[in-house]
Symmetry: C2
């Protein structure tokens, strides 16, 4: 076999620096260092700049009680003292408060932002990334409303006019930061490149093609995708795996961006259902039953609204499906609050208020948005568990009604 | 549609009267009463006779401290005071210590015996059941050895020369006895009847046909199956469901006897793995990962040794698969003992001895038998998690080696 002469390496930027973002920066930087023929060693991590004072109980407390810039702190002590304390970052993670500068010349953008910052960040970045950059979205959730469903990866892809895949799994960040074993699923499936739509420059290596993204309704959008120049190593599944896979973080690559994205959103509805049933003291059979029924409603949801591109196996066999459901129904926040609500005979919103310092559960908003969408499609009855959770949240059903509400009709 | 004139009803016998057997008798008797056009109301429950003295704390204690016959006690107080105390049985459950008499004229035999009693009971019953009787095996587990795998349902089918299906699910008996919600999976798929092999009597309603049981290797056995006479309502999936389905016990019918049977056996190996990992304090990501990998090894095991008859969906979508794995890895005995062994730094056998009063964990014997079988087939490497569990039990690997041992090779 001929050896391919590759002149350039991929530059990787982590867009986000919270708990999960910093964890991703850590493991990605371990891999860029371990694969010097593919990746530039330095990994930029965009930090939403803020002032932070190192607390006295931090191992980095130096007697100064002056606030410092978080990005400088991170680069000085190699720790995100605010969002991921006590975890040492590799020295090749470079915190950068300048979004455009952090992403400049990057061929791989790893988005790990809170849901609500994605649109704004993309609009700030628009036109400032390489036209042939690729992205992976690690933010869970989807935007669901009466109007339809938009995957986070779609929002990023559209916003930057690049291809964006997705990473999701049974991934509690703090466990991964400690290098405790876990798995994840990465969906990456850029459409095949062709040269039917040559760019003005005429260079075949940057020709624009129609983005035939299978999870976008045909004809609905006409994004364009620029092929990666030949000077770079291909962003194949094999090389994407090398960017994320660690001995403590096993990565499985799939093509199903829709399924991976939906799993991370819909599991929160299931976690509420499992919490309701567990709060009744119904035991392990009942909890497992609700989880199983929920996984099958995920499968049905994917098939009904994303067609064959959402594969059954993504939900039933991958970390982003069954495993994430299991983790979320073990001790996740949605599960715990739903359980507490039933045990104490209070509403979920009362529990949210008392237990979450004003934060909202993701599961409740997802359940409501998904229900609005299902109603608009006339499909509520096809998703009896999702609908039951919504009706319980609205006070129109009781947790003890769940078995009857989800009983299969023959 | 013409109304079918059906002259006979199905008589149902529960073969077994332990915790799970008595629970099955209760729910089946509720259904025979509720479906009088299909089933005789009385349900016989075979009781392995023993003497029992009602303890003073029983609600049925009557001042007598004399031992009584268990079958008579059950029929007098409508409670299995020894094996399912405090649960009232419907009065149409009839305990019967005479095996042949209990099964006489029954068209449906529901086997719920401890594993080790199945062969003996079948040989005692041989020739004494209706030739066209059908059976459902509710005993979990399979017989695995170097020689091969025999499903419990196969052992019953062969032993009595009748067709036998299987019932398995996330089914902790005590929860179902209390009518707490759960689900189960019933596999029932008798081969199509034809009249190529007329019986001596020549009656088309009792003609013998070759039993083409898809989970038995073709040509390996030549059992014969006698069709159910037309006088009975058909034992269709619909009618089988009516025998088992309750508002608190949701039944899903499938055709995959091998898959349903394997799930109930192999889940115990997975529960050990989950317990090992949880005992290390590795958190929820790691536990979910091990469970997911285990479910996929179940799928592979089914496909490799039972061909296409073992369907992926049985393991990934049914109560007997994913849900039973979840329940077993939540608080099951195998999970708990494995976790304890790691936490205390003791061997599983030491834990068994201290915690189980000399009883043995099913998971450890299954893990050893499955390993012997995989070795004999040269297939150990295809099942890294099952093999890791075996090696940990043997002291040849440590729980902390699991991620490396199951890391996918690319």
């Amino acid at each position: 076999m001929a050896t391919l002469s590759v002149q350039r390496k991929h530059k990787v930027t982590i867009v986000g620096s919270g708990n999960w973002g910093t964890t991703m920066a850590k493991l990605v930087a371990e891999n860029t260092k371990g694969n010097p023929s593919l990746f530039e060693e330095q990994v930029q991590m965009w930090v939403f700049e803020e002032e932070y004072t190192i607390p006295k109980n931090s191992r980095h407390y130096n007697g100064s009680d002056q606030p410092e810039k978080l990005s400088e702190l991170i680069n000085n002590v190699h720790e995100n003292v605010k969002y991921l304390p006590n975890i040492t970052l590799p020295s090749n993670v470079i915190a950068n408060p300048d979004l455009a500068d952090a992403c400049k010349d990057s061929t791989m953008l790893v988005f790990v932002l809170p849901h609500q910052f994605i649109a704004r960040t993309c609009s700030q970045l628009s036109g400032k990334t390489l036209p042939y950059a690729r992205a992976i979205c690690c933010t869970k959730g989807v935007d669901v409303s009466e109007k339809g469903i938009q995957l986070m990866s779609e929002a990023i892809g559209k916003g930057l006019n690049i291809y964006c895949g997705a990473l999701s799994g049974a991934n509690i960040a703090s466990e991964i930061a400690k290098e405790l074993y876990s798995e994840t699923t990465v969906a990456y499936d850029p459409p095949p490149m062709d040269s039917r739509h040559p760019t003005p420059s005429g260079s075949p290596s940057s020709s624009q093609v129609n983005l035939i993204n299978p999870e976008i309704e045909p004809g609905k959008r006409s994004a364009h995708l620029i092929p990666l120049p030949n000077e770079y190593p291909p962003l194949s599944h094999e090389n994407i795996r090398k960017l994320f896979h660690r001995p403590y973080f096993h990565v499985h690559l799939v093509n199903d961006v829709a399924g991976v994205s939906l799993g991370g959103a819909l599991k929160n509805i299931i976690a509420l259902a499992a919490g309701f049933v567990d709060g009744l003291g119904w035991g392990d059979n009942a909890k497992a039953a609700v989880m199983r029924v929920g996984i099958l409603e995920m499968v049905k949801f994917g098939k009904m609204f994303f067609g064959e591109s959402a594969r059954t196996s993504t939900f039933t066999e991958e970390s982003c499906g069954v495993a994430d459901v299991i983790t979320s129904c073990s001790g996740g926040r949605n599960f715990r609050c739903a359980k507490m609500a039933v045990e104490r005979g209070e509403s979920i919103s009362a529990i949210e208020e008392k237990e979450l310092n004003g934060q909202k559960l993701q599961g409740t908003s997802t359940a409501i948005e998904v229900n609005q969408f299902l109603k608009s499609q006339g499909k509520e009855a096809d998703f009896p568990l999702f609908t039951a959770v919504f009706n319980i949240l609205e006070g129109n059903a009781k947790p003890r009604d769940i078995p009857e509400l989800i009983e299969p009709k023959y």
